[in-house]
Amino acid sequence: MFQKITALAWKDTIIRFSSRTELLFFLILPLVFTVLLSGGVGTGQTGAGDNRIVLLVVNQDGSEPANTLISALAASGVVRIEEKSLAEAETRFADEAAPALLVIPAGFGAAVLDGSTAVLDLRQLPNNNNANAADRAVQTAVSDISAPWIAARASLQEAEDLAPFADDAARQAYFQQATDLAAALLADEPQRVSVTQPEAAITEANTYDLAAHQSAGQLITWVFIPLLGTSALLAFERRYGTLRRLLVTPTRKSTYLLGTIFGQFSTAVVQMGILVGFGIVVMGVNWGHSPVGLAIMLLTFGLSSVAFGVMMATFVKTESQANNLSIMLGMSMALLGGCWFPIELFPPAVQTAVHVLPTTWAMQGLADLVMRGAGVAEILPEAAVLSGFAVVFFIVGIVRFRYE
């Protein structure tokens, strides 16, 4: 029986890869999507090995406060500044080469030092998460550098409330002394916040590792779609009558189904292996401390997906329906499962609702491995749910399956 199963699996593999275009979906597109969505090559999100978001900066002032702001932005872990002339920056921003553009206008430094309010001009691409992140980074830098000036203004106010200054020079000197004093005191302040995380964690604290997320998310997307395509293979056999011919031979129906499932599942395991390897070698993703945990997650995800494909085969009539439905369901379930965007960005109600999808559990399990550094025990709940999905889908698929 095992020989028959392997023979059937091999036959299906040959059929699937009879056209070289299959390599497009098996390998090329998954890798292209992983690289592009990770911001890997030439996107506005990265420089060479620098994952920070590009922030275009135009310094029209050149004063010390302006330079202080630029230094604070340069030290940010969120944005990577590119100083440009206004014309250059506007052109790059119009081309959407960067999600945000900050203009430090002439007179900025003077306004800060004379006690009035200096205004920064921040332009952002609408509806863009990177633009929002860049905005937060600018706010943080402004907040950091403003502290000495706020303190100096308060000190100046207190002094003026008691008695006016002799002249503007005396006032300015008092303000400058206050600024220096405040800066020195603030620099001496001890650390009052420490960000920690579980010891096993792999990614840096408070850092969204786009490559890790997309490597896991695109793996799920591009393995899920062809496994749903198992339905097309079964529809193909039905349409051409080859299944009936096969069943004339001394082959049990269960053997046939097992052979088909084994073939698709084995191919998926190879594909997952390649994508994980690509993530490690090319994207520099750390796939966790637990190879056993990773294997359990990938195998249970593969099983639940191929089972979904078998179940789907009982609802479709033609290969075309099966293929197209696989793409539609695969993409939408991956999207809703948090494979493309972090699930923490979804509205709370949606975060709960999407737990009816196997892709959500698969992504959660892989995120546990690649971000939290989880071990076998921690991913067992996700693996158990995926196994449960597999059992339910297989039962529905086998009960409803039409052999002719």
């Binding site: 497009l24 403003s146 008691l162 509205p347």
Partner: protein, 423 residues
Amino acid sequence: MKKILNIGWKDLIVLFRDKGALVLMLGAPFVLTLGLGLITGSFSNNSGSSSGLAGIAVVVVNKDGGELGQGLVDVLFSADLAELLAPDTAVSPQAARQQVDNNAIAAAVIIPAGFTDGILPNASGQVGEPVAIEVYANPARPISANVVSSIVADYINQVETGMVSVNVALTQLVMHGRITPANTESMMTLGQEMGQRLISQDAAPQPIRIERDKAAAEAASNPNFLAYIAPGMAVAFLMYTVALGGRSILAERDKGTLSRLLISPTSATQILAGKVVGIFLTGVAQVSVLIAASALLFGLRWGNLPGVVLLIVTVSAAATGWGLLLASLANRPGQVSSFGTALMLTFGILGGSFVQIPFTGLLAQLSKITPNAWAIEGFMSLSQGGSLADIAPSLIALVVMAALLFGTAVLIFQRRSGALIAR
């Protein structure tokens, strides 16, 4: 001409009767638009924001008996942050950390004993050893944990700025002889009074204000994220439709229906033209249906109607050009399907249909060869109140793209006319 239109109409009817094709032509773009709308919260609020960050689960443990620890708790539970945070309290740091370890919350904020005493001087003017607040972050929810850390850091920043302000003010007043306090106690009293004044001056002008670009702010205040997603998805799956149309050219040959057509008084040119018209009309119908459906069901405002019509026509023409080019290069119908689907997905990501990525360099140039990028730009402009003049670059680019692709495909078809008619 009548024959050409008949062939085109026939192809349109055939495609719209194919349930399998309808899944990707209409079902997929609609479902994905719906999905993206759901995960971005576009149906539940009017912000149109691409970020759905809300209700971040955070647990606070306050072991500090002082006012500053309680002040942070009050900030985390404040009405201002009610939408962003879903705070809770825990008694022990271990219990709070356990919730992070179990992936139940985004972060635990642990305020240690002696936090206030490490900042504010006691009655004798002594300040205790400084201790740090711990933000125990969940690595699986880095964006949410980062928000919590930022809120805590902002609070600390305000406290430190206030302390330093009082310190600097008192120091300078004494240095410049503007006050002469009798003893430490009177200095303490002065400092407390000054601190109260600073708190009451909360609304005092900040040294630096960030002014956001008005256009972007207006864009963000309108529910326009769906206006970006919907045309993006429609155009992405338009590429599938035109590939399917291109496939039908080769399928007619393989099934023998092309030979039968050629026996009739219909020339090969008329047949090819009819097929092109069929692909084009199907594309126009597909995008029109999706746009009308999203206007009716999602309440999207598409803007200037003539502009919308022109964009639908030109993007369908450009996509038809890609479909024809594929058909002209392929040997078998299956190849057109496979490459068509691959092209649909690749153009989808390069042209910004699925995710908006600010490409640079070669990728930025490559995105310009996709109908997706030009069409999305045009539709976005119209939905934000743009006029025909505003979308002129998109219209011109799509027309030029259509002409170039159509011309190239015809040349290839002419060279391979033998292979096209008989195999």
